[in-house]
Amino acid sequence: MNKFDVSSKKENEIEDEASGPWFPLMFTFFSEITLLTRFTVQYFRNLFIPPYEINEILKQCYLIGYKSLPLVGITGFIMGLVLTIQSRPTLSAFGAESWLPAMVAVSIIREIGPVITALICAGKVGSGIGAELASMRVTEQIDAMEVSGINPFKYIVVTRIFACTMMLPVLVVFSDVIALLGSFLAVNINGDVTSTLYFSQVIESLDFSDVFPSFIKTFFFGFAIGLIGCYKGYNTDKGTEGVGLSANSAVVLSSLLIFIMDMIAVQITDLLF
């Protein structure tokens, strides 16, 4: 019998093959995609309907943005410093050491700054949101909001996703600036370059196509971090075990999504600019 000929197979044999080891995985994957899409639609629907939770949005902006500044700043500083120190020998070998500020600036602004900052925030903010919402679900706090006639999705989810979307670009700009300061320090370890010369070279090397697309994509990164954190936390089950799982999967999934979005953003930038 031809193995591709299904006509002679019994129905239950076909069902058995369809429910092979890959089937639950595919089913889980597509059902997660469907639920995430529905969650996203629900977010946009609630985002534009009053009342607007301005106070809670400002509070979340403070927690997500201001409270992340030290971590993002330190990471950015080390990023700029290390990138400069590592790049110097290669550029020296080609006699292009004077290109160091320009190369570092383009690398940081276009790619490294947004991606590294987004990954740091996925770890700090994404896991925090995932664990907080999961804990609220497990301890029935979300149910308590619902039974008192308040829309918990609007109060908890919409505010966090919106704050993440708005704060990540701010954090990336802050990280980029600190990274350039770190780079300036590294340049001065082996040489003597004035800050005026260094930063004028940096600014001259950057144009609209470097800054604008990378700034825009940070909004999407922020949205992804907030969305995945909230989705995983809000829909948790399995009790307290689910809290850890939600935090963990929020970081893993949002990090993956950041790389996928970055890949798409690079392709679009290449096409448009």
């Binding site: 009342p51 804990s135 609220m136 301890t139 029935e140 706090q141 149910d143 308590a144 909001m145 619902e146 039974v147 008192s148 006639g149 308040i150 829309n151």
Partner: protein, 259 residues
């Protein structure tokens, strides 16, 4: 306290004996995957009545009260609360109804990130007609009723189990509900605190004329608060009666709860 907001719908509902009805449930079914939890439950809660629900774990007691507030959607049956069919209500109307039904969760479900004051004021936030100073007065009144005015600026993590239950109760009372649903209100508390909470439940009924469903395994608590008791088994009502009637029941299974 003014319960006028809920008077009209109740007055339209009477059972066969002419008694005013707050909640009427008939033939309620709910399953989780293959497990059938509620299997055709019928229940009537009269106005101003304290109804205690007893039963083993997993017989659907918590599911029952979560169905009443629309947190869980049953598969079959009818569920009328204050004259409104819960299963046919859209979000907006359901939220309006929920404001008339207080729910005290087993864990009290206080919002961890808020102080006691903010926890109590939270349910009032959607009511724009109440001014800030009126909200503050309502918060203080609710806390005074449960004897915890001193804890107004504390965080939930600073409160004991009994205090958390009291604050949870104050938070539900702030909306002046016509119906109260208690999910194991004395669970995990020492006998003295349990007795205090039980007396508080009786006080709430007497002061606000609320109709209540109380789920408990605590027989001492049931004795204090129950006007009527029903015993659930396999998702249906096994029997019902007053505390004394069930304590002296001929059914050994029923009597076992009281021994």
């Amino acid at each position: 306290m003014d319960n006028s907001q809920t008077d009209t719908p109740i007055e339209k509902n009477h059972d066969d004996s002419g008694k005013e009805v707050a909640i009427e449930i008939s033939n309620l079914h709910k399953s989780f995957k293959t497990k059938r939890v509620l299997q055709g439950l019928n229940l009537v809660l009269g106005k101003g009545e304290n109804l205690v629900v007893l039963g083993k774990s997993g017989t659907g007691k918590s599911v029952l009260i979560k169905c009443i507030v629309g947190l869980i959607e049953p598969e079959e049956g009818s569920l009328t609360v204050l004259g409104e069919n819960v299963l046919e209500l859209h979000d907006k109307k359901l939220n309006e109804l929920r404001k008339k039904v207080g729910f005290l969760f087993q864990s009290a479900a206080l919002y961890d990130s808020m102080t006691v004051r903010e926890n109590l004021a939270f349910p009032l936030r959607t009511n724009s007609s109440i001014k800030e100073d009126e909200k503050e007065a309502l918060v203080k009144e609710a806390l005074e009723n449960v004897g915890l005015l001193d804890a107004i600026d504390k965080m939930p993590s600073e409160l004991s189990g009994g205090m958390r239950k009291r604050v949870g109760l104050a938070r539900t009372l702030i909306l002046k509900p016509a119906i109260m649903l208690y999910d194991e209100p004395t669970n995990g508390l020492d006998p003295i605190t349990s007795k205090e909470i039980s007396k508080l439940i009786v006080d709430v009924k007497e002061k606000y004329n609320t109709s209540s469903i109380i789920i408990t395994h605590d027989i001492a608590c049931a004795k204090i608060i129950a006007d009527r008791i029903i015993v659930l088994k396999d998702g249906v009502c096994l029997t019902e009666g007053t505390f004394d009637e069930l304590q002296n029941s001929e059914n050994a299974e029923v009597r076992a709860y009281f021994e």
